[in-house]
């Protein structure tokens, strides 16, 4: 399952279609809060303790997060997800300029952002590079 969070339904839809072609299921949300709520109800089902470690298991294989979201922004969301899921591959997408992204705070370790409009191959490369 791949999470797509973007408040622009057109982009969310395109990303979801593309993931479908790659053979992934997607869960699409218009805001950070909605994804967090979804994780709350779906994440617990699959959470388990591994060797006494308190890391919850993640129902997601990866997440594509828009930065400019109503409410909690994409960077804050990435920080929250990183806290919970150490190995979750994430990529941030944004129409903001480099300096504008920086002004919003630092990105979690191992998370990078790409600017809209982007090449799907580039996004794919970043998202799945750790798996190759």
């Amino acid at each position: 399952m791949i999470a797509v969070v973007d408040d622009d339904p057109e982009i969310a839809d395109a990303l979801s279609t593309w993931m479908g072609i790659l053979g992934f299921e997607t869960t699409v949300h218009g805001s950070a809060e909605k994804l967090l709520a979804w994780l709350q109800s779906n994440g617990n089902k699959t959470s388990r303790r591994v060797k006494g470690d308190n890391v919850s298991s993640c129902p997601l294989k990866a997440a594509i997060l828009d930065i400019n979201l109503p409410g909690i922004n994409g960077i804050e969301l990435a920080h929250k997800l990183r806290k919970q899921y150490r190995d979750l591959p994430m990529v941030l997408i944004t129409a903001l300029r480099h300096d504008e992204v920086q002004s919003l705070g630092s990105l979690p370790l191992g998370v990078s952002f790409i600017r809209k409009p982007f090449d799907l191959d580039v996004l794919e490369g970043i998202l799945f590079q750790s798996k190759d």
Partner: protein
């Protein structure tokens, strides 16, 4: 009989005195307009008057005074008056060194004839000659003033000096032919005519001058007023354009983000389509769907460009039916990015149903944008940062309230907000609110400015609702 009726020295005395009194009177009447033009005219008059009095005292004063000095004074008076009329015509005045040169040349010529040649007749001919030239020059200048400014008063000056010039010319011709005596003090038909015309002419020229200056003044004032109005209108346009460009600069970032959204969707869908087309068998339904999305997003991008374009172009009022709720939501898109960067929460409270007004959608969005941007500027420096935008249908009015949690407005600012060029911003022009106010007023609405009870500023845009009591309200 007429010859005997006019005593030549007496008429010189009268004209001389008139030339002293009338310039002073002119000077007093044109009080407040004592520019160099009037000073030259009146000063010239006094000079001529003194010269004429000296001539009338021929026999009682030394020869040098009644001949050389008198003529020098008259000659200088003419020069001053020519200068004055040239200035009225906005021609460049003659340089002072030329005037001094003419003055000195006059003495040299006059005295060489007198002392050098000892020819009294030639001296008189010379006196008439310069009088003819000066009178005709003044008359020509007055004619040009009358034509240029349509001033009928200038024609008094024109006619008087023309007649004066012609009579002197006839006298000169008669002198040259030896028909009359050189001595002006001996009465004959010519000197008598000159005396009468001199009397009437002196009065006519001075009243003509006062009238002409007044005409000129009134016209000038009207012209200055019109020019000012035109300049003001032009500067208002320029300022409005500047303000638009300034806002545009600030907005361009937001608009850039805005247009990247559909472009992202277009690019993604195109790349997906490429993959679909390479996969056998081709899913034509999916391909069709992707192409539809590409078309849809291209139109979306085009709409954004149109919005920018309409913002840059100074548009005339284009009245249409405006959905205020949608307009507010659409306009917020322009500031969404900025609000997010500065952690400003935007809260909507928009009534359901049709919130319709009659108005110019572009102008109204400009007002909203201006108020939103002001609020963001204030909120950047305050916490908490909340911008509440509500649209309510209250009785027959659609009320859009833009309320922030900033520091609010001071009493003076509340009183003066909306006044052109009043600003509390260091880099502000103080035009945003005044333009907004005039736009809302031109929509038969009102822009109310107040402070919230709990702090922060509150702007209310009140516009007449399009439909009320089941009837279409036209205004």
């Amino acid at each position: 009989m007429l010859i005997n009726a006019v005593n030549i020295p007496t008429s010189f005395v009268i004209i001389g005195f008139l030339y002293l009194i009338l310039p002073i009177m002119t000077w007093i009447v044109l009080n407040g307009q004592r520019s160099s033009l009037v000073s030259l005219w009146c000063g010239g008059g006094l000079s001529i008057g003194s010269g004429l009095l000296l001539i009338s005292l021929r026999g009682f004063v030394p020869d040098w005074a009644t001949f050389l000095l008198a003529n020098l004074l008259i000659f200088t008076g003419y020069l001053f008056r020519i200068q004055s009329l040239r200035l009225h015509l906005t021609l460049p005045s003659w340089p002072t060194r030329w005037m001094v040169f003419a003055f000195l040349m006059f003495i040299v010529v006059f005295e060489s004839i007198h002392l050098g040649l000892g020819d009294a007749l030639l001296r008189t001919e010379f006196v008439f000659l310069y009088n003819v030239v000066m009178n005709l020059m003044l008359s020509l200048l007055a004619w040009r003033i009358g034509r240029r400014y349509g001033s009928s008063n200038a024609s008094f000056i024109f006619v008087t000096y023309l007649l004066g010039g012609l009579i002197m010319m006839l006298r000169l011709i008669a002198l040259l032919k030896g028909e009359v005596q050189a001595d002006v003090m001996v009465a004959n038909i010519m000197t008598t005519q000159a005396g009468i015309i001199g009397l009437i002419g002196t009065i006519a020229t001075h009243f003509g001058y006062i009238g002409m200056t007044m005409d000129h003044l009134v016209k000038n004032e009207t012209k200055i007023k019109t020019d000012k109005l035109v300049a003001l209108r032009q500067s208002q346009q320029v300022i409005a354009q500047l303000d638009r460009q300034r806002s545009l600069g600030a907005l361009s970032a937001s608009l850039g983000h805005e247009i990247n959204q559909p472009l992202t969707a277009i690019l993604a869908n195109t790349q997906i389509a490429k993959r679909v087309i390479n996969k056998e068998p081709v899913n034509s339904a999916q391909l069709q769907n992707l192409l539809d999305k590409i078309i849809h997003n291209t139109r979306r991008a085009n709409l954004i460009i149109e919005r920018i374009r309409s913002f840059i172009k100074p548009a005339n009022m284009e009245m249409g039916i405006v959905k205020v709720g949608s307009l507010v939501r659409d306009t917020v898109l322009y500031i969404k990015e900025e609000a997010m960067i500065h952690h400003i929460a935007i809260v909507f409270d928009i009534d359901n149903g049709e919130l319709l007004v009659k108005g110019d959608v572009i102008q109204l969005s400009q007002v909203l944008l201006n108020l939103f941007r002001n609020a963001i500027e204030v909120l950047k420096q305050n916490t908490p940062r909340r911008l509440t935008i509500s649209v309510k249908h209250i009785e027959n009015v659609i009320v859009t309230t833009i309320s922030d949690t900033g520091s609010g407005l001071s009493e003076e600012a509340l009183k003066r907000a909306g006044e052109a060029f009043y600003t509390t911003k260091a880099d502000g022009l103080g035009l945003g609110l005044s333009i907004s106010k005039s736009i809302i007023e031109s929509h038969h609405g009102q822009l109310l400015i107040s402070n919230n009870e709990e702090g922060g500023a509150c702007f209310k845009i009140c516009l007449p609702a399009l439909y009320h009591q089941g009837k279409l309200e036209l205004f």
